[in-house]
Symmetry: D2
Subunit: 389 residues, 4 copies
C-alpha cells in the first residue's frame, strides 16, 4: 500500500467536539501515507484556529472559511497545496463545500449522505465528470475486509442467484429527546435545515442500502416504507422499515432505527441466494458466515490466506488480531489516495482499491427521498434510478 | 407439577414418518404425567395399526378413523376413556377432527395453524365455549421459560411502553422443490388443499405473530405484506415480509421464509420499549438478553432464582443444564393437563399454567388470511380482529 | 429406536427433592420405550411410599429398601419383573445396591462416580462379567449427538494425531458454604462419608475425564494436580486443576471447579490434533466447531444429513429445533435399553448404541483417586490403569 | 489526549517484511500525536535505507546501525532529535539497543519479552532508574479499554477476593515446521540465539502472565509447568501449561500454545473472586462479561458512559463502533507519550495513562525462565520475585 510520496489533505468541518472529523483524521493518519496540511474546521473562525492549534497545524494553513481555504490552497504551488479535501460538515454543507473545491480541481473525500437534495447530488455527479477529479464518499462500512470478501463471494457465484436480502441498522442513541440536552450530533441530525428530509434513513438507512448494494450488486426497483417519529416533538423520523423489490426479482427488507434502546451500531446484513447465504455484522466485523444446506456453516475470518485477494488487500494485521471500524474507514482513505496518485501520475487505477463514488452518493440521496415519500404515501413507490455520469 | 392421577390421551394423525406426531408424543411423555392410550394415526387403517403396534398400544384402542375413535372412546367408561385428544394431522383436518371430539365433550390439544378458514376457526371458538372443554393450541414456542420471562418483564414495565417489534422465522428447507422429491412434510405444506391459503405465513409466520403477541400483548391494527413464491411451480408462497402497525402506536416488522438457505429454525424476536429492549432466539433458548441505555446488557439464564415465577415454574433442570424444544413443547402439554384436571375436579385453574387458546388460534388464522390478502393487493390493509368468545 | 416391547425398570434413590432421580425418570420416559414399574426411592420407607404415590406407581411395587426390592422383584414372574434397575443414590450406596441387583441377574443403570473406592469398582467389573448383565454408567454427556460426531471425526482421522486436550468443568454453585444451609445436594457432595474422597473431581472432574477419553480415545499416563478447598471448613476439595500426559505423547489440561462464581455447568472441551481441532460446550450443545489452518472454521449442527451416522442415530428433532441435556441423558437410557433387549433376545448388540460401561466406571474411580493423591503429594504421579474385565 | 507539541520518535528494527514494526508505526501514527523521524530499520544498511524511503523519511535520519543512530540523534539539537526510540528487533537485541539509547538519555518503548536473560532485565531496571528515562514495554493487551475496566472492577472490589485465574493464549501458526519454509517470524521465534530460552512462553505466555497480573494484581508464588515441543526438530518449546499458586492464596492455570491448530490469537482470561467473575477475550475485545450468582450476567461494552474512567479515557470511538488491536497498541504509545511529555515539562504524570514498565519486563523475564525451569524439573518451583527499582 505504498505511494510515491505522502499525500497532503485539508479538512472542512471537524472542529472541537465533532465526532466524525476526528474519525476521518485518525483514519487518514493510520497508515502514515496521508498528512493533514490544512483546515477550515468550523464556520466559527476562532474555533477553526483552536482546532488547528490542537492538531499542531501550520497556522497559515488554518482558514476562517472553506471558501478562503479553497481559494488560497489553489493558489499555492503544486508541491505545497493539498492533494484532496475531506468534507466532514453537517449534510447541508457537503454540496457547497465539495463544489467549491471540485471547481478548483481538487479531489474530494466527502461524508455521507452526499447532499440534502437530489438536484445537488446530480450536480455533483456532473461536476466530478467535468473536472475529472477523484470523489470518494465515506460509506465506510464497504471498507471492511469481510464485506469485500462477501462481495467477492457473491460475484464468484458462491450464493447462486440472489433471492433475499435482510439488512438492518438499529441504534438506540436517540430514544430520548437528546437534541434538547446539548448534544451537537443529535441537534443537527434531527434538524431538517441541516440534515435534510430525513434523520434515520439519511444517517444510517443509507449506509444499510449502500452495504446491501455493494455486496449484492442489486438495484432497487420499488419499495414500501413505514416511516415514523417516536419521540414527541422531533422534527424528523427516527425509525424506518421497508419492503424492497430489487431488479431481477430479489426481495429485501431494510430497517433502521435510532430509538431501538440498547442497540449501539448494529449494522448487519444477511444475503440469501439459491445456493448459499452470508451474514455479517459490523459490531464483530472480522467474521463472515457462509451457510448452505449441504454442509457445515463456514466462518471466514479476516487475515487468512484462504480469503479472496480483495479481502486480503484491505487487511493490515495477522489473523486473530482484530481489526475494526478505523481500519475499514482508513481503507476508504487508502483507496482514494491511490486513485488520487493514479490521477496525478497518469497510472492505471487499481481495480481492487475501490471506494464509493459520486454516483453511489446520488443513488443514496435518491433512496432517502424515495423512502420518505413512500412513508408519506403509505404505499409502494417506484424506486428505480440511474444517476448521471 | 403433579396431578391427582395420570391422564390418558389419544392421538389423531402422527402415523409412520410424521414429524410432529412424534414430537407431541415425546412432549406428552416427558414428565410421566400423561399416557398415550388410543390413536387413529392415519387415514389409512393399516398404517394406523402399524403405528399402534410400534407404540405398544392396546390394539383395541387403535382405530381406523378419527370418527370411530371419537365415537368408541366416548362410549368407554370414564375411568378408561381418554381425557383429551391430540390433533396432529395436516391443517385441513384440524377442524373436522377437533369438532368431532369437542362435540362429544373431549378436551383437545391441536396443532397450528388451527384451521384453514376463518369460518372454521370461529366455529371452533363457539364449539369450545358451548361444550366447556379445554382447548390448547400448540404454539409451542410460548412454552419456553425465557419467553415467559420476557412476557413477565414486559408486563412488569421493565421495557416501558412498547415501540418496535422485530420478529423473524427464517428457514431454508424449502429452498428447492422438495415437494417433488417424496418429502411428505414438504408435499402437504405446499399443497393448498391440505395447508390452506398459505405455506410460509401459515406454518411459521403464524408462530412469529403468536410469539410477538404473547410477549408484548400487542394486537395488530394494520399490515402491509410482501408475499412471494421463489421456487418455480410451487403453489403457495415460500417467503413473506411485512410491516405492521400495532394498536397503541407500536410498529413491527415480521418476516418468515422457507427459502432462506442455511437457516434452520431461526425464530427470533427483538422487542424495543421506551426504557429497555429484549431479544431471544429459539435456537439458543436458555438465554434472554435485556438491554437499556443505562447499564451493561443483562443476560438472563434459565433455571436461576432471580427469574420470575412464570419462568421458574416452566423449568425442569438446574441452571447450566440446557433445556430445549421438547421441554417447551411439554410445557404446553403440562399446562393443558392441569387445565384438564382442573376442569375434571372443579379446581381453580392455575394462572401461570397458561397455554395458547382457541381464540389465539382464530387470531392466527385471521392474521394468515390478512397477510396473504395484503400481499395480493400490494397495499396496507386493516388487520384488526376480535375472535368470538 | 423401537423395541419389541416396552421395558420396565425400577429405581433405587430419587426420593422427594432429589435432583438426579427426576432427571433419570424424565430421560427414561422421553421416548415411550421404558416404563417405571418399581422403586425404593429412599432409605426412609415413608418417603419412598410418598414418592411412589406421586409417580402413580402400584404400591405393591414401592419398597422400603433396596434389599427388599431386589429380592421381591427377582421373585416376580419374568413378564412382570423389572428389566433393569437405575441406581441414583449418593455415591457411597452405588456399590451395595448395584451388587445386590447384579447378583440376582438384573441389568443396571448406575449414576457416577461408580463407587467410592477402587476395590468396589473392580469388584463391580468382576460381578458384571460373571453375571453377564448389562451395566451402563450415566456419564450422560457422552450421549450428546455432537459429542458422538466429535468422536467419529477423531476416529476418521479428521484431526490427524492427537496433540493437546483442554477440558474444563467449572461450576459456581458451591462458592459459599451451601452445605450449611439445608441443600441436600450440597450436603452429601461435600461429605466424605457419602461422596468419597473427592467432591469436585468426583462429581464433575470425572465427567470431564470421561468426555475427553470418549472423544479422543486417549488414556492418561501421568498427571500432576493442584487440589484446593477454597471455602473454609469444607471437608472436600472444591477446585482442581491438572496437567496430564496421555499415552502416545498427547498433553492435556483439565480443570474442574465448584467455586467459579457465575459459571453454571460449563463443561467444555477443545481437542487439537496435527491437522485440525474441535471444540464443544455442553451449555450450547447442538454445535461442534472444527478448525484447521487451511480454511474457514466449520460449524457442524445437530440434525443435519452431513453428520456421521452416530450423530444422526442419537438425534430426535430436525435441525434448528434444539435438543439438550435430557435428550443426551435419554440416549444413555435408549442405548442401554437396546443392550438389555439384545441380551434378552440374544440379538447382536448395535455398535452405534454405545454407553459408558463398568470398565469406564473403574477408570473414572482410579482417575479420581490418582488426582487427589497427586494433589496431596504436589507432584506428578503415575496414572496408568487397566480395569479388570 | 492532546500534547503541547507532536513527539518525534525513531525506530530500531521493523525493516522490510517485519510484522511488529509496522504495527508499532501504525499505533504511533493513529492519533496524530507522534511522528516517525528516524530509524535504523535493519542490521543490513541497504534494507534500512529501503525501509526509510518507503516511509518517506529524511534520508539523513535513516541510519546504518542502532549505534550510529543513538550517537547521531543525541548530537542533534533538542528541537530536532527524537523524543524516544522504539525497539522492535528480535528479542536478543532489545537489551543492547535499549541500553545504548537509555545511556544517552533517550526514552524507550520496547517490545516484549524485554530481554533474553534476567541479568539483562535487571540491568535495564537499574539503567532506567539511573537515567530517569521513560521506559514502556509493549505488553499491548493491557491497552484495551475493557482490560482497564476489568482491572478497575477488581480494584473496586466487585469480584471480592481473588480465588482463581484461568488465562490462555493458544495459537496454531507453528503447528508445522514453518521455520523451515522461509518465514522470518517463525525462524527467529524458534531460534534460541535470537528468542532466548523459550518460544511459546516467551512470546505469548508472557503476555498471558502480564495480562493476569495487570487485571488482578496477583503475584506468582510458585508454579508447576508442563513444557513440550510437539514439532519434531524444533529447538524451543511450542506448548506450555502450568499450575500457579499466587501470593495470598489464589490459584491459577495458564496455558499458551503455538501448535493449537485453528487458533489464531485467542488470548483470553477468566478471573473468579468470592463475589463475582470476569471474562474477556482479545479476539472480540469490546466486551467484558461479569457474572455473579445473584443476578443476570452483565456484558459491559466499550464506549459507554457507565464504564470506569480508565476505560473511557482509553477509548476513541462511540459505543458500537468496534475498536481493536491497533487502538489498544496505540494506547500504550499515547500513555508513554504523555509520560515523555510529563518528563520533559516536569508535569505530574497522569495516573490513568499507565503502561507496562521496565519492572514489569523483569517480572516477565523471570516468569519465562522459571516456567522453563519447572518444565525441565517436572516439579513445582518457587517463583516469587521482586525486580530491582
Amino acid at each position: 500500500m505504498s505511494l510515491t510520496r505522502k499525500l497532503r489533505y485539508g479538512m472542512v468541518g471537524g472542529g472541537p467536539g465533532a465526532f466524525i472529523g476526528e474519525v476521518h483524521r485518525k483514519a487518514a493518519a493510520l497508515d502514515g501515507l496521508i498528512t493533514l496540511a490544512a483546515g477550515a474546521f468550523s464556520s466559527n473562525p476562532a474555533k477553526s484556529q483552536q482546532q488547528g492549534e490542537e492538531l499542531h497545524l501550520d497556522p497559515a494553513r488554518v482558514y476562517d472559511s472553506y471558501e478562503e481555504m479553497a481559494e488560497r490552497e489553489a493558489a499555492l504551488p503544486e508541491d505545497e497545496r493539498i492533494d484532496f479535501v475531506s468534507v466532514v460538515t453537517p449534510n447541508f454543507m457537503h454540496f457547497p463545500v465539495a463544489k467549491a473545491f471540485i471547481e478548483r480541481g481538487f479531489n474530494v473525500v466527502c461524508d455521507k449522505p452526499m447532499t440534502t437534495t437530489l438536484d445537488e447530488a446530480e450536480a455533483l455527479c456532473r461536476l466530478v465528470a467535468r473536472h475529472g477529479v477523484v470523489f470518494a464518499l465515506t460509506h465506510n462500512y464497504t471498507g471492511y475486509p469481510m464485506v469485500k470478501q462477501a462481495r467477492a463471494m457473491v460475484q464468484n457465484g458462491d450464493l447462486g442467484e440472489m433471492r433475499k436480502v435482510v439488512v438492518e441498522y438499529p441504534q438506540g442513541w436517540l430514544a430520548t429527546k437528546l437534541e434538547d440536552s446539548g448534544s451537537k450530533q443529535a441537534e443537527w441530525r434531527t434538524n431538517p435545515s441541516k440534515a435534510g428530509v430525513s434523520s434515520a434513513v439519511g444517517d444510517i438507512g443509507s449506509h444499510a442500502e449502500n452495504l446491501a448494494r455493494y455486496i449484492t450488486g442489486l438495484e432497487i426497483e420499488s419499495l414500501c416504507a413505514d416511516i415514523h417519529t417516536f419521540v414527541p416533538g422531533r422534527a424528523l423520523e427516527d425509525d424506518a422499515s421497508m419492503l424492497i423489490h430489487y431488479k431481477g426479482g430479489a426481495r429485501g427488507l431494510l430497517h433502521c432505527s435510532q430509538i431501538s434502546v440498547g442497540e449501539e451500531n448494529n449494522l448487519n446484513i444477511r444475503v440469501y441466494g439459491t445456493k448459499g447465504s452470508l451474514c455479517w455484522a459490523q459490531e464483530n466485523p472480522n467474521y463472515l458466515h457462509f451457510r448452505s444446506g449441504d454442509g457445515p456453516e463456514r466462518v471466514y475470518k479476516r487475515g487468512n490466506p484462504y480469503l479472496t485477494e480483495a479481502a486480503q488487500r484491505h487487511s493490515r494485521l495477522p489473523f486473530g488480531h482484530p481489526e475494526a471500524f478505523l481500519e475499514a474507514f482508513a481503507n476508504i482513505y487508502v483507496s482514494a489516495a491511490h486513485a488520487v496518485e493514479a490521477r496525478r501520475t497518469g497510472a492505471e487505477p487499481d481495480r481492487l482499491m475501490d471506494f464509493p463514488t459520486v454516483q453511489d452518493g446520488a443513488v443514496g440521496v435518491h433512496f432517502i427521498h424515495t423512502a420518505i415519500q413512500s412513508g408519506k404515501q403509505r404505499a409502494w413507490v417506484d424506486a428505480s434510478y440511474e444517476p448521471p455520469g
